[in-house]
Amino acid sequence: MAGKINLEIDAVLEKYPEPEESLIAVLQGVQDIYGYISKDAVEYITEKTNIPSSRIMGVASFYAGFRLKPVGKYRIMVCMGTACHVNGSERIGDTVKRQLGIEAGDVTEDGLFSWEEVACLGCCSISPAMMINDTAYGMLTQEKVIEIIDSIKKGEGK
């Protein structure tokens, strides 16, 4: 397993001849593969590039876009931006939380779902909005959220 991880990270590093300047892009590449930045990945990058792990962790922890914990197969991002807030996004977040039975930032036991609050998806005109992986959903109501989650569960045979 470790060998495979290293190969995949090597492929990311190869794209960036100046990993120090491109550290954010490197971490994004790693996160795209594994869904989060693991300790092992940080150590391996340090080994290959000599960038201190403290600097890597400093960057990874500064940006909300980096996750230091695994995510679910379906990653639900509930928008908490201004337009969504005015149109009741808190209730959308509460509904997701209730349906999944987990707090923001956590993963369901079966690994299927995780959810988090994000700032704005740029879909403000159809707020409240959320995104599941790369697909955006707008004009949400509590019922619509329940439907969407249920249909994913069904598709997964749950």
Binding site: E20, E21, S22, L23, I24, A25, L27, Q28, G58, V59, F62, Y63, A64, G65, F66, C79, M80, G81, T82, A83, H85, V86, N87, G88, R91, D94, T95, R98, V118, A119, C120, L121, G122, C123, C124, S125, I126, S127, A129, D134, T135, A136, Y137, G138, M139, T141, Q142
Partner: protein, 585 residues
């Protein structure tokens, strides 16, 4: 006949793919095809198809789904376009009164096709700029009066001149596509809908200052924009419009894209530069300005997406034409992103100098459910709430600043009577305190203290001195903070106190939330005389807080109730009320 399908993020989220399916299936084997275009700004009616008839007439269809798309396609095949789903004349007022420069290609050109952009007149300005040379370009931008659209409204030509004056063989153009104001989405729409317009503007700026590399810093939350930018850059390279010696002019240029990683402060230019270099996005004091020492410590010109998107139009039509629109100090047009409690949310591009009312009521049709407008928020976390009686304010940089808000990037969040101003202030303060980079004390500690006070007030534990403390703290953060984030963070609080002090006082003195929003100060209650005992609410309640006997009035357990509003939404007899400030009543 041409069929243009709105295929931006908002269109796709509203079901553009099913519409595409419906149309494509019916068009199979016919001469008709579907063209995918960006968002045309009529987001409220997504998914949208614009049919352009052979005689040039345009018919707009909205709120389509697969079935209605099939019907539309069938009707087109018979040569008689259907009447259903057409946008009404009233809705079409949305487009009247707009003057589109930045958005002129959005919804018209295929964002994934360089040919389409060129057919619509694209890259002519680049050719002209190559023959004009640096000084003439900057002169034209100066005549136009263009000011930065990223928020501060700094005159664009001064920045370009400064970067030009800096001596170096290596200079950079950076496009700020971080669009951090939660609630603004015009940059996204332009990048998704007409990416070449932004690239062309950046290249012209490159000629002006003598740069050979353009970097676009775009939010990671905009995957579609990133994809289309990459495609656009790839096509430019293929066609020889990028690289060395473009069009045999001796001018060389290339692009790079970098995705942000979710930090609001990185919209601030020095933080953005830090982030571009792979560091934590922490601002530094200026000078040196980026025009002297920016990306890779070289002279750099940073502009916002919309600023760049204006450039090709100015070069083609002349600075005078641009300056003929707008007010004394603010020229040209501005794109506004309308959202919140507004009836027709979407993108509006108008000449500077209209009033906020013109936009909210004239173009966007007023408030949802015909409710009463309470305020319009401009400038996001750095801006403020402009109250109803000031919505006749004429829009330009200075006028908006006089209200205590700022023009900002152009997000307009419309609020009605159900919006609590204390809650909004708390919302923004929560945002800025989380987004504060932590480098300077006034911002890091100050915003946290302000948030704590606001939370206390919203929870009914506020004290009378709290309002004055907020104002004092706010003023000192404004002057003491290192960068624009902290300098402007107190604005949402200060403006709501200035215009809606009575709401703060109601929370503090009467423990009442007049908008019935703050959960700690409200209680749901069933009106016995109206309840028919149908049990619907009790079945809908997610926390089993409602109980009773069928056919007799139900009751809500205030302890269990999470104030989610499901019961109100389901009750057919209007029997559930929200109560706040019982002490007073």
């Amino acid at each position: 006949m041409r069929f243009l399908l709105g295929y931006g993020s908002c269109g796709i989220a509203s079901g553009a793919n099913s519409v595409l399916e419906g149309l494509s299936e019916c068009f199979f084997g016919t001469e008709f095809t579907v063209e995918k275009v960006g968002c045309n700004g009529l987001c409220f009616a997504e998914p949208i198809v614009e049919v352009i008839c052979d005689d040039g007439e345009s018919v707009l269809y909205g709120r389509l789904n697969k079935q209605s798309a099939v019907k539309l396609a069938e009707s087109a095949k018979t040569g008689k376009l259907m009447q259903e789903n057409r946008l009404s004349d009233d809705e079409l007022r949305f487009l009247q009164g707009q003057k589109r420069i930045v958005l002129s290609g959005c919804g018209k050109v295929d964002p994934e096709s360089l040919d389409s952009y060129i057919e619509n007149g694209g890259y002519k300005a680049l050719e002209r700029a190559l023959s004009m040379g640096s000084d003439k370009i900057i002169e034209e931008i100066k005549i136009s009066g263009l000011r930065g659209r990223g928020g501060a409204g700094f005159p664009t030509h001064i920045k370009w001149q400064a970067a030009k004056n800096s001596q170096s063989d290596e200079k950079y153009i950076v496009c700020n596509a971080d669009e951090g104001d939660p609630g603004a989405f015009m940059d996204r729409a332009v990048l998704e809908g007409d990416p070449h317009r932004v690239l062309e503007g950046m290249m012209i700026s490159g000629i002006a200052i003598g740069a050979h590399m353009g970097v676009i810093y775009v939010r990671a939350e905009y995957p579609l924009a990133v994809k289309r930018l990459k495609k656009a850059i790839g096509e430019l390279r293929e066609k020889g419009l990028l690289g060395d010696n473009i069009l045999n002019s001796g001018f060389s240029f290339d692009f790079n894209i970098m995705m942000g990683a979710g930090a609001f402060v990185c919209g601030e230019e020095t933080a953005l530069l830090a982030s571009l270099s792979g560091n934590r996005g922490m601002p530094v004091t200026k000078p040196p300005f980026p025009a002297q020492k920016g990306f890779r410590k070289q002279p750099t010109n940073i502009n916002n997406v919309e600023t760049f998107a204006n450039v090709s139009w100015i070069i083609e039509n002349g600075g005078e034409a641009f300056a003929s629109m707008g007010t004394e100090g603010s020229k040209g047009t501005k794109v506004f992103a309308l959202a919140g409690r507004v009836k027709r949310g979407g993108l509006v591009e108008v000449p500077m100098g209209l009033t906020i009312n013109d936009i909210v009521f004239g173009i966007c049709g007023g408030i949802k459910d015909d409710a009463k407008v309470k305020a319009v928020q401009m400038g996001g976390p750095s801006g403020g709430c402009i109250p109803e009686n000031m919505l006749d304010t004429v829009i330009d940089y200075e006028n908006i600043a006089r209200t205590g808000a700022i023009m900002g990037s152009g997000g307009m969040i419309v609020m009605d009577e159900k919006t609590c101003m204390v809650d909004m202030a708390k919302f923004f303060m929560d945002f800025t305190s989380k987004e504060s980079c932590g480098k300077c004390v006034p911002c890091r500690i100050g915003t946290t203290r302000m948030l704590e006070i606001l939370e206390r007030i919203a929870n009914g534990k506020g004290e009378e001195s709290d309002i004055d403390t907020l104002v004092e703290l706010g003023e000192s953060i404004k002057t003491g903070a290192l960068c624009g984030l902290g300098n402007s963070a107190p604005n949402p609080v200060l403006t709501t106190i200035k215009y809606f002090r009575n709401e703060y006082e109601a929370h503090i003195k009467e423990k009442c939330c007049p908008a019935k929003k703050c959960t700690a100060l409200i209680r749901y209650s069933i009106v016995k005389d109206l309840c028919k005992g149908c049990s619907l609410c009790s079945r809908k309640c997610p926390v089993e807080a409602i109980s009773g006997q069928i056919k007799s009035p139900y009751e809500i357990d205030a302890e269990k109730c999470v104030r989610c509003g499901q019961c109100i939404a389901t009750c057919r007899f209007n029997a559930i009320k929200i109560i706040s400030g019982e002490a007073k009543e």
